[in-house]
């Protein structure tokens, strides 16, 4: 039976695992739906019986943009940078960064997670698999 406990802090758990260079996503034990961002109930079947599971770290590129404008003074040194929407192999989608340049990026290409420093923490970024990038450059 589903226990309606106090909301476990899945979000904190997600970032703790990122700090250990591990990518996770939410999974529902009742209906097996996988989702992000972290919520304490499954948006498909509304069960609270949800938990973090390890993700493979493989994803597909849905779309991307390149920020040339720095929306914050601290971003002046970071522009231009790429922000992408990717779909994890498990299904959930997430916003992330890809390394510059954007040349050779193709919708649907396969990506792999890598963990990069952001201040004194890590954040998950993705990069094209080498073969994919070469294919992209050839098309």
């Amino acid at each position: 039976m589903t226990q309606h406990t106090n909301s476990p802090d899945h979000l904190a758990g997600y970032w703790k695992k990122v700090g250990e260079q591990s990518l996770t996503c939410m999974a529902c034990k009742q209906c097996a739906h996988h989702f992000l961002p972290s919520l304490d109930a499954c948006p498909q079947c509304l069960s609270f019986d949800v938990h973090l599971v390890d993700a493979s770290g493989r994803a597909r590129l849905l779309s991307w943009v390149t920020f040339h404008h720095a929306y914050r003074p601290e971003l002046v040194s970071r522009v231009p940078y790429i922000v992408a929407l990717v779909e994890l192999e498990e299904g959930p989608r997430m916003i992330t960064n890809l390394p510059m340049p954007s040349t050779g990026l193709v919708a649907g290409m396969e990506l792999t997670v890598r963990f990069v420093p952001h201040g004194d923490e890590l954040i998950p970024n993705f990069e094209p698999q080498i073969a994919e990038l070469e294919n992209g450059l050839n098309t």
Binding site: F67, H68, L75
Partner: protein
Amino acid sequence: MEQRSVIVGIGHTSYGAHPGRSTISLKVEAVQRALQDAGIAKDRIDGLFVKYPTSRFESLYAVKVAEALGLEQLHICGGWDQGGAANISQIALADQAIRSGQCEVAVVCFADNPKSGSNWAYSRARNEADEKYGWLGTAAYFALFAQRHMALHGTTAEDLGRIAVQIRAHGAQNPNAQLRKALTLDDYLSRPFMVEPLRRDDMALISDGGAAIVITSQKVAEQMGGTLPVAVLGYGQAINATTREDLTTTGAQASAQRAFSMAGLTPRDVQLAQLYDCFTPTVLVTLEDYGFCKKGQAGHFIREEGIGIGGRLPLNTSGGLLSETGMPGMQLIIEAVRQLRGTANLQVKSASNAVVSGWGGAMQTHSTLILGT
């Protein structure tokens, strides 16, 4: 079809900067002008629908506006939280309230002052994680959509540019427009990217200003005998998640289907459109999802059929959000009314119907309005 509600009054402040003016002060001015246009006394208002300002959410905001307008006997009053889709949705709510006898004369209004005040709402991060990735501002969502459209359908920078060029050409001829500067496609292409693939000219203005409309029943309009009433023929709305299954297909489709079905019209019948152009890619997707052309064909439609005054579908004939004012949507409704009255600055010949669209958030909310005479 039963009795339709009609728009009998339109009013707005000047567009641009209004330093020191509160959003409520701007609204009072707009409502005063709309009442004057309708030739109707303030005391007749018994319904008030207020979209809260984008730059600052405030609870019970509609009640504060009612107090500033000295309206103490309202039968229905409130605000609908849908971002830029809310103005149209509130006209739909007003129509339902009028037709069900909840009120007789309603005002729908909006005002904001992000140009003189805070434009924080347009550059913020949605949450802590987005901040880490540098995923900031509203434009990026539309750039992400545009990039996907380009990847899937071969849409080009020129396709986006032609939208900006045409709408800016309309705005350049509008004496009330905030930005009266025409743009060539070469100018457009020579500008740097802000959030690639979008440039500054793809993006709405930041504007202060207020606008209002007065809506009532046909019966009351006939009694008043004022300017040509413009009928609410149909409407629809829809919400969808930011990460739609197919990023390039949106809630606009379902919203428009309901509106067309209610109006008994098809896209082929539509004579002009005022499409929510907060960013140029929204015009592309609206043309496609409304059924003016097939998915992926909007660039072609714009090039071959034309969106200027003599084109197949004249749109944003007063300059839209890109040129008249960045205000989220009321200017589009007002321009549609002017076109149907025959009093527009760039008049479309013998127009008898118009479609207006509204988008909110990162394209999560959509609303469609069909007006006619």
